[in-house]
Symmetry: C2
Subunit: 236 residues, 2 copies
Protein backbone atom coordinates (compact mmCIF):
# COMPACT_ATOMS: atom_id res chain seq x y z
CA UNK A 1 0.00 0.00 0.00
CA UNK A 2 1.71 3.18 -1.12
CA UNK A 3 -0.09 6.39 -0.43
CA UNK A 4 2.87 8.48 -1.54
CA UNK A 5 5.10 10.67 0.54
CA UNK A 6 3.68 13.40 2.77
CA UNK A 7 5.70 16.07 4.56
CA UNK A 8 4.24 17.68 7.68
CA UNK A 9 6.01 20.98 8.22
CA UNK A 10 5.92 24.62 9.19
CA UNK A 11 8.33 27.09 7.61
CA UNK A 12 8.94 28.56 11.07
CA UNK A 13 10.64 25.25 11.99
CA UNK A 14 14.30 24.96 11.02
CA UNK A 15 14.36 21.20 10.25
CA UNK A 16 11.04 21.53 8.40
CA UNK A 17 12.70 23.96 6.02
CA UNK A 18 15.72 21.69 5.58
CA UNK A 19 13.55 18.71 4.64
CA UNK A 20 11.38 20.77 2.31
CA UNK A 21 14.52 21.96 0.52
CA UNK A 22 16.07 18.48 0.36
CA UNK A 23 12.95 16.92 -1.16
CA UNK A 24 12.48 19.79 -3.61
CA UNK A 25 16.12 19.99 -4.71
CA UNK A 26 16.10 16.25 -5.43
CA UNK A 27 12.80 16.45 -7.33
CA UNK A 28 11.06 13.96 -5.06
CA UNK A 29 7.30 14.41 -5.34
CA UNK A 30 5.62 14.95 -1.99
CA UNK A 31 2.33 16.16 -0.64
CA UNK A 32 2.64 19.40 1.32
CA UNK A 33 0.92 19.13 4.70
CA UNK A 34 1.39 22.42 6.58
CA UNK A 35 1.03 22.27 10.37
CA UNK A 36 0.49 25.67 12.02
CA UNK A 37 2.83 25.90 15.01
CA UNK A 38 1.28 29.26 15.94
CA UNK A 39 -2.01 27.41 16.52
CA UNK A 40 -0.19 24.56 18.32
CA UNK A 41 -1.63 22.13 15.78
CA UNK A 42 1.38 19.84 16.36
CA UNK A 43 0.24 19.27 19.95
CA UNK A 44 -3.30 18.16 19.10
CA UNK A 45 -4.36 14.68 20.10
CA UNK A 46 -5.30 13.95 16.50
CA UNK A 47 -1.88 14.93 15.15
CA UNK A 48 -0.12 12.92 17.84
CA UNK A 49 -2.29 9.91 17.10
CA UNK A 50 -2.22 9.98 13.31
CA UNK A 51 1.07 11.62 12.42
CA UNK A 52 3.73 12.14 15.07
CA UNK A 53 3.48 10.80 18.61
CA UNK A 54 6.19 13.27 19.65
CA UNK A 55 3.93 16.22 18.79
CA UNK A 56 6.51 17.98 16.63
CA UNK A 57 7.31 18.97 13.07
CA UNK A 58 8.73 17.90 10.72
CA UNK A 59 7.44 14.42 10.15
CA UNK A 60 6.96 12.28 7.06
CA UNK A 61 4.36 9.68 6.30
CA UNK A 62 5.55 7.39 3.51
CA UNK A 63 2.82 4.94 2.58
CA UNK A 64 1.94 3.69 6.02
CA UNK A 65 5.32 4.40 7.62
CA UNK A 66 5.52 7.45 9.87
CA UNK A 67 8.88 8.90 10.76
CA UNK A 68 9.81 11.90 12.85
CA UNK A 69 13.13 13.65 13.53
CA UNK A 70 14.82 15.23 10.52
CA UNK A 71 18.15 13.47 11.08
CA UNK A 72 16.40 10.10 10.88
CA UNK A 73 14.38 11.22 7.86
CA UNK A 74 17.48 12.33 5.89
CA UNK A 75 19.00 8.88 6.29
CA UNK A 76 15.74 7.11 5.49
CA UNK A 77 15.25 9.14 2.30
CA UNK A 78 18.84 8.48 1.23
CA UNK A 79 18.19 4.73 1.53
CA UNK A 80 14.69 4.59 0.09
CA UNK A 81 14.78 7.27 -2.63
CA UNK A 82 17.51 6.80 -5.23
CA UNK A 83 16.67 10.31 -6.46
CA UNK A 84 18.56 11.73 -3.47
CA UNK A 85 21.96 12.62 -4.94
CA UNK A 86 24.71 10.72 -3.06
CA UNK A 87 26.59 13.84 -1.93
CA UNK A 88 23.73 14.69 0.47
CA UNK A 89 24.48 11.59 2.54
CA UNK A 90 27.25 9.47 0.98
CA UNK A 91 26.25 5.96 1.95
CA UNK A 92 29.24 4.48 0.13
CA UNK A 93 31.70 6.62 2.07
CA UNK A 94 31.76 5.41 5.66
CA UNK A 95 34.06 8.12 7.01
CA UNK A 96 32.16 11.00 5.41
CA UNK A 97 28.89 9.48 6.60
CA UNK A 98 30.35 9.31 10.13
CA UNK A 99 31.36 12.96 9.95
CA UNK A 100 27.84 13.99 8.86
CA UNK A 101 26.28 11.85 11.63
CA UNK A 102 28.67 13.44 14.13
CA UNK A 103 27.60 16.95 13.15
CA UNK A 104 23.88 16.13 13.17
CA UNK A 105 24.15 14.62 16.64
CA UNK A 106 26.35 17.39 18.07
CA UNK A 107 24.05 20.09 16.68
CA UNK A 108 21.09 19.37 18.99
CA UNK A 109 22.64 20.61 22.22
CA UNK A 110 24.88 23.16 20.53
CA UNK A 111 24.02 25.22 17.42
CA UNK A 112 20.33 24.25 17.57
CA UNK A 113 20.04 24.96 21.29
CA UNK A 114 22.16 28.13 21.04
CA UNK A 115 19.96 29.62 18.31
CA UNK A 116 16.62 28.33 19.63
CA UNK A 117 17.10 29.57 23.18
CA UNK A 118 17.94 33.05 21.90
CA UNK A 119 15.06 32.99 19.40
CA UNK A 120 12.52 31.87 22.01
CA UNK A 121 13.57 34.38 24.61
CA UNK A 122 14.03 37.42 22.39
CA UNK A 123 11.41 36.90 19.69
CA UNK A 124 8.76 34.49 20.94
CA UNK A 125 8.41 35.56 24.58
CA UNK A 126 7.17 39.08 23.75
CA UNK A 127 4.56 37.58 21.40
CA UNK A 128 3.37 35.38 24.25
CA UNK A 129 3.20 38.35 26.60
CA UNK A 130 6.18 37.07 28.60
CA UNK A 131 8.90 39.25 30.02
CA UNK A 132 12.23 39.55 28.19
CA UNK A 133 14.91 39.64 30.85
CA UNK A 134 17.89 41.81 29.84
CA UNK A 135 20.48 39.83 31.79
CA UNK A 136 19.18 36.55 30.35
CA UNK A 137 19.19 38.01 26.84
CA UNK A 138 22.82 38.96 27.36
CA UNK A 139 23.74 35.46 28.60
CA UNK A 140 21.95 33.84 25.66
CA UNK A 141 23.61 36.23 23.22
CA UNK A 142 27.03 35.34 24.61
CA UNK A 143 26.21 31.66 24.26
CA UNK A 144 25.09 32.15 20.66
CA UNK A 145 28.19 34.23 19.90
CA UNK A 146 30.41 31.47 21.29
CA UNK A 147 28.58 28.75 19.35
CA UNK A 148 28.82 30.57 16.05
CA UNK A 149 32.43 31.55 16.67
CA UNK A 150 33.25 27.86 17.16
CA UNK A 151 31.37 27.10 13.95
CA UNK A 152 33.37 29.76 12.09
CA UNK A 153 36.76 28.88 13.51
CA UNK A 154 36.65 25.10 13.96
CA UNK A 155 33.85 23.55 11.92
CA UNK A 156 34.46 25.68 8.86
CA UNK A 157 38.20 25.34 9.63
CA UNK A 158 38.92 28.93 8.76
CA UNK A 159 37.58 28.64 5.21
CA UNK A 160 39.80 25.69 4.24
CA UNK A 161 36.94 23.77 2.68
CA UNK A 162 33.67 24.98 1.21
CA UNK A 163 31.32 22.69 3.18
CA UNK A 164 31.22 21.20 6.66
CA UNK A 165 32.33 17.70 5.75
CA UNK A 166 34.13 18.14 2.46
CA UNK A 167 33.97 19.66 -1.01
CA UNK A 168 30.28 18.98 -1.62
CA UNK A 169 27.15 19.98 0.21
CA UNK A 170 25.56 17.44 2.57
CA UNK A 171 22.56 17.29 4.87
CA UNK A 172 24.85 18.57 7.65
CA UNK A 173 25.27 21.88 5.81
CA UNK A 174 21.61 22.13 4.93
CA UNK A 175 20.50 21.40 8.46
CA UNK A 176 23.02 23.83 9.98
CA UNK A 177 22.18 26.68 7.61
CA UNK A 178 18.45 26.35 8.32
CA UNK A 179 19.14 26.43 12.07
CA UNK A 180 21.36 29.48 11.81
CA UNK A 181 18.91 31.42 9.59
CA UNK A 182 16.46 31.36 12.51
CA UNK A 183 18.61 33.81 14.48
CA UNK A 184 17.83 36.52 11.91
CA UNK A 185 14.16 36.60 12.96
CA UNK A 186 15.31 37.62 16.44
CA UNK A 187 17.44 40.40 14.95
CA UNK A 188 20.77 38.60 15.30
CA UNK A 189 23.02 38.64 12.24
CA UNK A 190 25.02 35.37 12.27
CA UNK A 191 27.23 36.52 9.39
CA UNK A 192 28.43 39.79 10.93
CA UNK A 193 32.14 39.48 11.65
CA UNK A 194 32.19 35.87 10.42
CA UNK A 195 33.38 35.88 6.81
CA UNK A 196 33.70 32.09 6.46
CA UNK A 197 30.21 31.53 7.82
CA UNK A 198 28.85 34.22 5.49
CA UNK A 199 30.52 32.61 2.46
CA UNK A 200 29.38 29.14 3.48
CA UNK A 201 25.75 30.23 4.00
CA UNK A 202 25.79 31.90 0.59
CA UNK A 203 27.06 28.63 -0.92
CA UNK A 204 24.33 26.56 0.75
CA UNK A 205 21.70 28.97 -0.56
CA UNK A 206 23.27 29.01 -4.01
CA UNK A 207 23.32 25.21 -4.23
CA UNK A 208 19.69 24.83 -3.22
CA UNK A 209 17.87 27.77 -4.74
CA UNK A 210 15.12 28.54 -5.64
CA UNK A 211 13.97 26.17 -2.87
CA UNK A 212 16.12 27.73 -0.15
CA UNK A 213 14.51 31.12 -0.66
CA UNK A 214 11.06 29.57 -0.98
CA UNK A 215 11.45 27.88 2.42
CA UNK A 216 13.00 31.00 3.98
CA UNK A 217 10.58 33.59 2.58
CA UNK A 218 8.87 33.69 5.96
CA UNK A 219 12.20 34.13 7.80
CA UNK A 220 13.23 36.95 5.46
CA UNK A 221 9.92 38.74 6.06
CA UNK A 222 10.03 38.39 9.84
CA UNK A 223 13.64 39.53 10.18
CA UNK A 224 13.94 43.21 11.17
CA UNK A 225 15.30 45.72 8.67
CA UNK A 226 18.69 45.74 10.39
CA UNK A 227 19.30 42.24 9.01
CA UNK A 228 20.10 42.00 5.31
CA UNK A 229 17.88 39.44 3.61
CA UNK A 230 17.19 38.77 -0.06
CA UNK A 231 14.34 40.70 -1.65
CA UNK A 232 12.27 38.05 -3.41
CA UNK A 233 10.37 38.81 -6.62
CA UNK A 234 6.83 39.03 -5.28
CA UNK A 235 7.89 40.77 -2.07
CA UNK A 236 8.52 43.77 -4.35
Amino acid sequence: MSLGLRLYYDFLSQPSRALYILLSANKIPFERCPVALRKLEQKSAEYRKNVNRFGKVPCIVDGDFRLAESAAIYRYLSREYPAVAPHWYPREDSLRQARIDEYLSWQHLNIRADVSLYFFHVWLNPLLGKEVNAAKTERLRERLDAGLNFFERVLLAGGERPFLTGDTISVADLSAACEIEQAKIAGYDPCAGRPHLAAWMASVRDQTNPFYDEAHRFVYRLAPETIATPLLPDDG
Copy 2:
Protein backbone atom coordinates in the same frame (compact mmCIF):
# COMPACT_ATOMS: atom_id res chain seq x y z
CA MET B 1 48.09 2.67 9.48
CA SER B 2 46.02 0.97 12.12
CA LEU B 3 46.75 1.91 15.69
CA GLY B 4 43.79 -0.02 17.02
CA LEU B 5 40.62 1.32 18.55
CA ARG B 6 40.74 3.66 21.54
CA LEU B 7 37.74 4.75 23.62
CA TYR B 8 37.94 8.02 25.53
CA TYR B 9 35.34 7.91 28.27
CA ASP B 10 34.29 8.65 31.83
CA PHE B 11 31.81 6.39 33.62
CA LEU B 12 30.01 9.51 34.87
CA SER B 13 29.01 10.17 31.24
CA GLN B 14 25.88 8.36 30.05
CA PRO B 15 26.95 7.82 26.40
CA SER B 16 30.45 6.82 27.56
CA ARG B 17 28.88 3.97 29.50
CA ALA B 18 26.73 2.95 26.54
CA LEU B 19 29.72 2.74 24.20
CA TYR B 20 31.83 0.89 26.75
CA ILE B 21 29.05 -1.68 27.12
CA LEU B 22 28.49 -2.00 23.36
CA LEU B 23 32.18 -2.61 22.65
CA SER B 24 32.54 -5.04 25.55
CA ALA B 25 29.35 -7.00 24.82
CA ASN B 26 30.46 -7.48 21.21
CA LYS B 27 33.98 -8.51 22.24
CA ILE B 28 35.64 -5.74 20.25
CA PRO B 29 39.13 -5.12 21.63
CA PHE B 30 39.72 -1.51 22.57
CA GLU B 31 42.18 0.51 24.55
CA ARG B 32 40.62 2.15 27.62
CA CYS B 33 41.43 5.85 27.79
CA PRO B 34 39.72 7.36 30.83
CA VAL B 35 39.14 11.12 30.77
CA ALA B 36 38.42 12.65 34.19
CA LEU B 37 35.42 14.96 33.81
CA ARG B 38 35.83 16.03 37.44
CA LYS B 39 39.20 17.50 36.48
CA LEU B 40 37.73 18.98 33.25
CA GLU B 41 40.33 17.02 31.27
CA GLN B 42 37.93 16.99 28.32
CA LYS B 43 38.21 20.77 28.04
CA SER B 44 42.02 20.88 27.86
CA ALA B 45 43.61 22.32 24.75
CA GLU B 46 45.57 19.11 24.29
CA TYR B 47 42.45 16.91 24.39
CA ARG B 48 40.62 19.21 21.98
CA LYS B 49 43.57 19.21 19.61
CA ASN B 50 44.45 15.52 19.67
CA VAL B 51 41.18 13.75 20.45
CA ASN B 52 37.89 15.64 20.28
CA ARG B 53 37.58 19.21 19.05
CA PHE B 54 34.17 19.39 20.75
CA GLY B 55 35.79 18.95 24.18
CA LYS B 56 33.49 16.11 25.23
CA VAL B 57 33.39 12.41 25.99
CA PRO B 58 32.91 9.83 24.61
CA CYS B 59 35.11 9.82 21.57
CA ILE B 60 36.86 7.08 19.63
CA VAL B 61 40.12 7.13 17.76
CA ASP B 62 40.26 4.29 15.26
CA GLY B 63 43.65 4.20 13.57
CA ASP B 64 43.92 7.83 12.57
CA PHE B 65 40.17 8.50 12.40
CA ARG B 66 38.68 10.43 15.31
CA LEU B 67 34.95 10.39 15.87
CA ALA B 68 32.81 12.02 18.53
CA GLU B 69 29.11 11.75 19.39
CA SER B 70 27.90 8.35 20.51
CA ALA B 71 25.07 8.17 17.96
CA ALA B 72 27.58 8.61 15.14
CA ILE B 73 29.96 6.10 16.74
CA TYR B 74 27.28 3.38 17.04
CA ARG B 75 26.61 3.61 13.32
CA TYR B 76 30.31 3.73 12.43
CA LEU B 77 31.05 0.65 14.52
CA SER B 78 28.12 -1.23 12.97
CA ARG B 79 29.58 -0.55 9.51
CA GLU B 80 33.25 -1.08 10.27
CA TYR B 81 33.19 -3.90 12.84
CA PRO B 82 31.40 -7.06 11.72
CA ALA B 83 31.65 -8.26 15.32
CA VAL B 84 28.77 -5.90 16.21
CA ALA B 85 25.73 -8.22 16.22
CA PRO B 86 23.16 -6.95 13.69
CA HIS B 87 20.35 -6.51 16.23
CA TRP B 88 22.20 -3.55 17.77
CA TYR B 89 21.76 -1.52 14.58
CA PRO B 90 20.07 -3.58 11.84
CA ARG B 91 21.63 -2.19 8.69
CA GLU B 92 19.64 -4.58 6.51
CA ASP B 93 16.32 -3.42 7.96
CA SER B 94 15.66 0.10 6.76
CA LEU B 95 12.50 0.69 8.81
CA ARG B 96 13.96 -0.58 12.07
CA GLN B 97 17.10 1.46 11.43
CA ALA B 98 14.90 4.54 10.87
CA ARG B 99 13.11 3.89 14.15
CA ILE B 100 16.43 3.64 16.03
CA ASP B 101 17.71 6.83 14.34
CA GLU B 102 14.46 8.57 15.29
CA TYR B 103 14.85 7.65 18.94
CA LEU B 104 18.53 8.64 19.09
CA SER B 105 17.76 12.02 17.55
CA TRP B 106 14.68 12.70 19.69
CA GLN B 107 16.51 11.75 22.87
CA HIS B 108 18.89 14.77 22.90
CA LEU B 109 16.32 17.42 23.71
CA ASN B 110 14.04 15.09 25.61
CA ILE B 111 15.12 12.18 27.84
CA ARG B 112 18.76 13.27 27.82
CA ALA B 113 17.92 16.90 28.56
CA ASP B 114 15.23 15.96 31.10
CA VAL B 115 17.61 13.76 33.10
CA SER B 116 20.72 15.92 32.69
CA LEU B 117 19.08 19.17 33.77
CA TYR B 118 17.76 17.51 36.92
CA PHE B 119 21.09 15.80 37.60
CA PHE B 120 23.10 19.02 37.14
CA HIS B 121 20.84 21.13 39.30
CA VAL B 122 20.23 18.69 42.13
CA TRP B 123 23.50 16.75 42.29
CA LEU B 124 26.24 18.74 40.62
CA ASN B 125 25.39 22.29 41.73
CA PRO B 126 25.91 21.59 45.44
CA LEU B 127 29.30 20.03 44.66
CA LEU B 128 30.25 23.21 42.82
CA GLY B 129 29.08 25.35 45.73
CA LYS B 130 26.11 26.64 43.74
CA GLU B 131 22.66 27.23 45.13
CA VAL B 132 19.92 24.63 44.62
CA ASN B 133 16.73 26.54 44.02
CA ALA B 134 13.67 24.70 45.37
CA ALA B 135 11.23 26.08 42.80
CA LYS B 136 13.61 25.19 39.96
CA THR B 137 14.12 21.70 41.40
CA GLU B 138 10.37 21.26 41.39
CA ARG B 139 10.05 22.45 37.77
CA LEU B 140 12.87 20.13 36.67
CA ARG B 141 11.34 17.23 38.57
CA GLU B 142 8.01 17.79 36.84
CA ARG B 143 9.77 17.87 33.48
CA LEU B 144 11.60 14.63 34.26
CA ASP B 145 8.37 13.01 35.49
CA ALA B 146 6.62 13.98 32.26
CA GLY B 147 9.49 12.71 30.09
CA LEU B 148 9.66 9.35 31.81
CA ASN B 149 5.86 9.01 31.85
CA PHE B 150 5.88 9.51 28.07
CA PHE B 151 8.63 6.91 27.81
CA GLU B 152 6.58 4.44 29.88
CA ARG B 153 3.26 5.05 28.17
CA VAL B 154 4.16 5.75 24.54
CA LEU B 155 7.69 4.55 23.77
CA LEU B 156 7.36 1.31 25.67
CA ALA B 157 3.77 1.16 24.40
CA GLY B 158 2.43 -0.08 27.69
CA GLY B 159 4.63 -3.17 27.75
CA GLU B 160 3.53 -4.46 24.35
CA ARG B 161 7.07 -5.16 23.23
CA PRO B 162 10.22 -5.86 25.20
CA PHE B 163 12.47 -3.24 23.60
CA LEU B 164 12.06 0.25 22.17
CA THR B 165 12.10 -0.68 18.50
CA GLY B 166 11.12 -4.34 18.50
CA ASP B 167 11.79 -7.75 20.00
CA THR B 168 15.55 -7.41 20.27
CA ILE B 169 17.77 -4.94 22.03
CA SER B 170 19.29 -2.12 19.97
CA VAL B 171 21.58 0.86 20.56
CA ALA B 172 18.42 2.91 21.22
CA ASP B 173 17.68 0.81 24.32
CA LEU B 174 21.27 0.85 25.50
CA SER B 175 21.59 4.58 25.05
CA ALA B 176 18.26 5.29 26.76
CA ALA B 177 18.95 3.04 29.73
CA CYS B 178 22.35 4.65 30.36
CA GLU B 179 20.74 8.11 30.25
CA ILE B 180 17.98 7.13 32.64
CA GLU B 181 20.36 5.46 35.14
CA GLN B 182 21.93 8.89 35.69
CA ALA B 183 18.82 10.12 37.52
CA LYS B 184 19.53 7.67 40.34
CA ILE B 185 22.68 9.57 41.34
CA ALA B 186 20.48 12.59 42.03
CA GLY B 187 18.18 10.46 44.19
CA TYR B 188 15.41 10.11 41.60
CA ASP B 189 14.06 6.60 41.08
CA PRO B 190 12.97 6.33 37.42
CA CYS B 191 11.36 2.93 37.98
CA ALA B 192 9.03 3.94 40.83
CA GLY B 193 5.45 3.74 39.59
CA ARG B 194 6.61 2.76 36.10
CA PRO B 195 6.42 -1.02 35.82
CA HIS B 196 7.13 -1.22 32.08
CA LEU B 197 10.18 0.99 32.41
CA ALA B 198 11.39 -1.10 35.35
CA ALA B 199 10.99 -4.34 33.39
CA TRP B 200 12.65 -2.87 30.31
CA MET B 201 15.64 -1.55 32.28
CA ALA B 202 16.05 -4.95 33.90
CA SER B 203 16.05 -6.53 30.42
CA VAL B 204 18.68 -4.13 29.11
CA ARG B 205 20.89 -4.89 32.11
CA ASP B 206 20.28 -8.61 31.77
CA GLN B 207 21.21 -8.62 28.08
CA THR B 208 24.45 -6.73 28.61
CA ASN B 209 25.81 -7.93 31.92
CA PRO B 210 28.43 -8.18 33.34
CA PHE B 211 29.39 -5.08 31.33
CA TYR B 212 26.30 -3.07 32.31
CA ASP B 213 27.12 -3.38 35.99
CA GLU B 214 30.80 -2.76 35.35
CA ALA B 215 30.00 0.54 33.63
CA HIS B 216 27.39 1.49 36.24
CA ARG B 217 29.36 0.57 39.36
CA PHE B 218 30.11 4.25 39.89
CA VAL B 219 26.42 5.20 39.46
CA TYR B 220 25.35 2.52 41.94
CA ARG B 221 27.85 3.80 44.51
CA LEU B 222 26.90 7.44 44.12
CA ALA B 223 23.15 6.83 44.32
CA PRO B 224 21.73 7.49 47.81
CA GLU B 225 20.44 4.57 49.90
CA THR B 226 16.83 5.42 49.05
CA ILE B 227 17.48 4.15 45.51
CA ALA B 228 17.72 0.39 45.08
CA THR B 229 20.86 -0.56 43.17
CA PRO B 230 22.60 -3.91 42.72
CA LEU B 231 25.20 -4.85 45.29
CA LEU B 232 28.22 -5.89 43.27
CA PRO B 233 30.63 -8.59 44.47
CA ASP B 234 33.54 -6.45 45.59
CA ASP B 235 31.31 -3.72 47.00
CA GLY B 236 30.91 -6.33 49.75
